[in-house]
Point group: C2
């Protein structure tokens, strides 16, 4: 199984795509290690957008910390179900609480005190359940900010964050805050990001953790 | 509920995002009708990539045919589960067969005769089950080509196709073929596309079909 391909034709397409991408982004990845390069190639594969090779920024400890957690089959938490449903080859557990009835209750309760999104409340709920592992944010900057806040207050044991929320409101700022934190992380600079980028990064790490 | 937002803060973010996007892409959408404009705005919202306003192409009958099918709660078929899991507000049924055991069997059987991907075999399987409705392709060009082929042979009753597969191998060509067919369609020109684009388009149409 290479990049989700399960047949010979699927494999041929994935392999040819990689060759094209390597040529397109070779100058952008020349200072990256092999696993970091694989992550970036896979992001470009999933978006057909070579600009991502210029937007991705990876903290020095991100790959080692993440691979170690994945080798131990530690839990993965995603902000939305689209991200969860794209992570299909992991031997550990992948959680997403945004549609959970308890999260709807927490959202109502918390929003009486301060404005909150359900995506952020779902991260709060994960912390309350004792979540420990890797967090993957492909959509909501508010969820990313909540994860950073709870890590800093010691309420959430997050090993690393794939932080690639998308949008013109808050996403770029939330990623800058993650980048300045001491949490091992990968981000995309600026408003661009999204679920395929999050999934590509998670799946690259998972595949590399099995080697 | 506006663009998936379920809280006041979520709503504020979605509204502000729309204002920014309208300003960014106003020249690109000036010849589109209100629902077509909504689709394009929502695609740009989901990717933070204004280039999509230039890449999207919509056939004249696409919106009317799709809205009619959605008002009747006709079935939706997606190529991969990431697309299915993003379509959360539909009163009809959303199907994706790519992980179905029967599709794995069909893939093995068909691949003895000709190269095939599992995504394409899943469309073949849907046709065999008598699927009728809207097809949403956010990933696999091979699935899109199979849907067009089965429509042309009369084996698949597809009302319209959201055809936005992604990638450097086959995606652009498959979308051109869809555009030249007589199937009501929306495509993104070139290699770019993907699951957020597919989901944004489907969700815009679903929301508009409820008005």
């Amino acid at each position: 199984m290479f990049m989700g391909a399960s047949t010979n034709q699927g494999m041929d397409i994935a392999t040819k795509s990689r060759e094209i991408i390597r040529e397109l982004i070779k100058d952008d990845v020349k200072n990256l290690n092999p696993i970091e390069t694989d992550i970036v190639e896979r992001i470009v594969h999933s978006t057909a957008d070579p600009e991502y090779a210029k937007l991705v920024s990876i903290s020095p400890n991100f790959v080692n910390v993440s691979i170690k957690a994945l080798k131990n089959n530690e839990d993965i938490l995603t902000d939305i179900n689209m991200v969860k449903s794209g992570i299909t080859q992991y031997d550990g557990d992948v959680y997403c609480y945004i549609k959970d009835e308890k999260v709807k209750e927490i959202t109502k309760k918390l929003s009486q005190k301060e404005p909150i999104t359900r995506a952020a409340a779902a991260i709060q709920y994960a912390a309350e359940t004792g979540f420990e592992g890797i967090i993957v944010i492909g959509n909501a900057p508010t969820a990313l900010l909540k994860a950073i806040e709870l890590k800093e207050t010691g309420e959430l044991n997050v090993k690393s964050i794939i932080g690639v929320p998308v949008g013109f409101v808050g996403a770029a700022d939330s990623k800058k805050i993650l980048q300045k934190s001491d949490i091992p992380n990968i981000i995309t600079n600026g408003p661009k990001g999204g679920t395929p980028i999050a999934v590509a990064c998670a799946n690259s790490l998972i595949q590399n953790s099995k080697k």
